[in-house]
Symmetry: C2
Subunit: 561 residues, 2 copies
């Protein structure tokens, strides 16, 4: 049986096929249909006129009645050995179309992008049980199923006349003999799957703009529409693929660190005071006191090292009460954090973090090639340029600034080695490094002390020569910071001095408790770093917003879904 992809009920979901091709396909379908009908005629007594009793009545509807001999399958496990045999599939109706009163086509979709074509054609046999009769009412009922309903079908696997281009499973099709509705979708979806699978048209999350934005002529829907229709948003193959890549990045981070002797732990979210300072911190009433939501697990990672662990990591939520309504910001996001004992040099930390990130970037290229291709088909972008092993790019902050001064845009001719970079500066440097070193991923090391928090260890050599840089670094992807890390001060007196230099009172809440930990017992030198998972996912995949990388993006204006 040869057939094009069934056209969607909604015009916007239709494939861009030329009229001629459609006509040709139509003719072929009719031919095939005639042939099949002729064959069916030999089998049944009469099917010209519908009998008063529907002989197929047990083969469709809401009352599930499947053959016990047919195995349940997943589309990804479908193989040659299934051909000609009955199988059972549970799936969503992605599209359905009545070809005629006697024939219907449907696309059935499983998790991810796994879809297969199903065919339903009036037929019947003369056996007493009428087990495999397909009647006109059954074809009509099936053809009227709402897209995104969940069904179970029993069908014979066949090879299609030609590959079904619109489905991931192109080389098999299902000749349906039973079809039952398990959960119905509404007649009118809030957003079609086809729309959900297009690029998001606008990330403006101003509720008042919602209607206006959705009425514009842009081909996709706004992020607000996506989030209002979270179920369809999530079912879109592009979102399924993004979730799969996110999953894999977490897995690669965890498995790499585990294999290097790191132990996972869970830092608390509820904390007594904000150790990183009071800005952008959520507070809440907590019985007779006030609690904060942790902005980073840094303090607790260090406490694990102080508490006798050599290497730890954590994966968990962190919170920022920042009223930033941009595509780069969220109020809750997932942090991938690690901390480790330093034996000789803080470069051990830098190399470990560089190692895990390269492991992640190379790993997703290898394990998620299909997903990344699908995502690129919706959100186009270049493949990540990664350094060859042994050719990793590690510049000092001063070298980065020098590059900007000597080869960067006019406005960066006077950038200073003792002042932090701005975001546009970072972007410009990223472009320079890509051109010069052929990589999107690189490290800037030895940040000036003014650009780092009080706990950053000053490079002793630099203190001697007066330049005062830190043993701290940032990692960049395409000119955007994805990781911040470095060596922490492990001596309580040195720490207090630095806190004072930064103009903070070492006795202030949160700070005092932090310093005191280093007074409880000898704490070895250590360092670590933190990665924002959502940003890494977004920037690896060229997504226009971190909100597409998160499962449930939290913004100052949105707490639902």
């Amino acid at each position: 049986m040869a057939e094009q992809a069934p056209a969607s009920k909604e015009p916007e979901a239709g494939a861009a096929t030329s009229k001629n091709a459609l006509k040709k396909a139509q003719k072929e379908k009719e031919k095939a249909e005639k042939k099949a009908a002729a064959k069916a005629k030999q089998l049944v007594v009469t099917q010209q006129q519908e009998p008063s009793e529907d002989l197929a009545k047990n083969n469709y509807g809401r009352e599930v009645s499947l053959s016990t001999d047919a195995p349940e399958i997943n589309l990804r496990s479908l193989s040659e050995e299934h051909i000609g045999k009955p199988v059972i599939l549970r799936a969503w109706v992605q599209n359905v179309r009545l070809q005629s009163a006697k024939m219907a086509f449907m696309e059935l979709r499983e998790e991810g992008n796994w879809a297969i074509q199903g065919v339903l054609q009036v037929t019947g046999d003369a056996d007493a049980e009428n087990a495999h009769v397909i009647s006109r009412p059954m074809v009509k009922w099936t053809g009227a199923l709402n897209p995104e309903s969940f069904v179970v079908v029993e069908a014979i696997v066949q090879r299609p006349y030609e590959p079904v281009k619109s489905c991931k499973v192109a080389n098999y099709e299902l000749h349906i003999r039973k079809c039952f509705l398990i959960a119905a979708a509404p007649a009118m979806l809030g957003m079609t799957l086809a729309a959900a699978n297009r690029p998001v048209s606008s990330f403006n999350d101003d509720e008042e703009l919602r209607e206006e934005a959705s009425q514009t002529a842009v081909p996709g829907a706004t992020l607000l529409t996506h989030l209002d229709n979270i179920v369809i948003h999530k079912r879109a193959p592009v979102q399924q693929a993004i979730s799969d890549v996110r999953c894999e990045i977490k897995h690669l981070f965890r498995s790499y660190l585990r294999s290097h002797g790191f132990k996972e732990f869970e830092p608390p979210c509820l904390i007594g005071a904000a150790s990183e300072g009071g800005a952008n911190v959520f507070t809440l009433p907590y019985f007779n006191q006030e609690a904060c939501l942790a902005q980073s697990p840094q303090f607790y990672k260090q406490m694990e090292i102080a508490g006798g662990r050599k290497r730890v990591f954590s994966i968990g939520p962190v919170f920022r009460a920042e009223n930033s309504n941009t595509t780069r910001h969220m109020t809750e996001f997932t942090g991938l954090d690690m901390e480790m004992e330093i034996t000789k040099d803080y470069k051990e930390v830098l190399l470990m973090l560089e190692g895990v990130l390269l492991h992640i970037f190379r790993g997703i290229k290898e394990h998620c090639a299909e997903e990344m291709e699908l995502i690129r088909s919706i959100y186009p972008g270049d493949e990540l340029l990664l350094p060859e092993p042994g050719k990793e790019v590690r510049l000092t902050f001063a070298e980065g600034q020098q590059l900007l001064r000597s080869e960067g845009p006019e406005e960066y001719r006077n950038v200073r080695d003792d002042e932090d970079m701005s975001t546009p500066q970072e972007k410009a440097l990223g472009a320079l490094i890509r051109k010069k070193f052929n990589t999107d991923f690189y490290v800037l090391d030895k940040f000036p002390e003014d650009a780092r928090p009080f706990y950053a260890k000053i490079d002793p050599a630099s203190a001697a020569n007066g330049s005062k840089v830190t043993n701290a670094f940032d990692f960049f992807l395409c000119g955007q910071e994805i990781l911040s890390g470095g060596q922490r001060i492990n001596d309580p007196d040195e720490l207090e001095d630095r806190i004072r230099v930064k103009g903070v009172d070492p006795k202030s809440p949160g700070i005092r408790e932090y310093v005191d930990v280093f007074r409880q017992a000898g704490v070895p030198p250590h360092g670590g770093g933190g990665i924002g998972l959502d940003r890494v996912v977004a920037w690896c995949l060229n997504l226009p917003s971190v909100h597409l990388a998160a499962y449930y993006p939290r913004t100052p204006k949105r707490l639902f879904p």
Copy 2:
């Protein structure tokens, strides 16, 4: 060189050795010392009188100067091939003792329970560099190091005269030739490691009782003292072992589910309204609205299924604003949650959860045998009785009640099948089941509708016969609930009906959004369950409190550390 474990500086940390044994050991030590001293005499010009210049001055102190040819080792990798060779070890001084002006013993501890004996003895050689001289000042300085300081030593690995019973590494010792202090502990620790490694004496977290409790004559310290000295608390081998088991439980949960096709996701902590009802929920100001902290990821797990995932799990924090000051409660804990599509029957969920828990219980017995033995030496308890494969115990709630009525204590003769069990009832049933079925782990299925939330699916067969039980279950360990799960209602109208039956308005905040998700598109039948990680850890290990299982326990009275 034969030597007993060095006695701690604090009497309370000393091993319970008889006086005679000590005397004998003392004599042996002296003999060994004399022999070694005689040998040393042959090597050095004179060591009778300390030279005015300390020839060992580069071999100890704060300025690290190690030989470049000695490899860094971890104690767990120490082997025969190291014998007679120099190694470098970074570790904590667990105990140190000056045996005489010429000899010191120390215990050096790495992560976990890995400790080794180090010996330091006045010696010297005649080479020009004096590289391996050990002087009296060096022995004195080393002998005066504060316990829990962090040091790096260079030493020759030797086989001890007899195994060093007090150290995990009993068959090697380190003949130290260099010792440098990297991070000093205070002269007086807030709690000794030995005290930290004893059973917690009291879990009363009333701050006013702190002093009183710590002055009682009980051998251990109170939990408050432990938490005030979090660094030492965490370094105690028992806590390191508990953390290792916790780590392994998480890993086993995750790897089992991953291998069964489950995908990890991160539910949000910040939510717009409490879908499980408003009791015990933390709320906080969130820009121009109010946010809640999630009490469970249930709603979001279901949204993942609605959104096209077949099987998902999450590991993350959940919050309860419950003013319960017991050893069973915390305000923040780690939830292990899963949700899956049901194809034929909700028993698929039950069996998957039973499978993952048995995998966990069997896995820690296999992979954490040493840690569990160590923990049992501090917190004694029986080994978990697990059912043999194929002999898992699954009773219906009614069967459980029947067992209580017929074989349980007098007061449970009239328990009813349509009323939930109390905690004492659960305990009594646990004891009955242990006796009858020889297992600590079992399932109670088909809870009455009154005992379950509105989203629990009513067993259709029971609805027909009027008993109204749910397709929902609890798992128990030693009579304590560790898991709650079951089939959820996936039809929005059925869900609304149940919400009304429970006396809740389906349009109330949180509830309306919950129901609407099922109206967006067809959602397949599904179910799942949630495990409290802290409780599973505590009850697997016979810990007297979940606060010992958590990394940073959060109680109504404590947000630090």
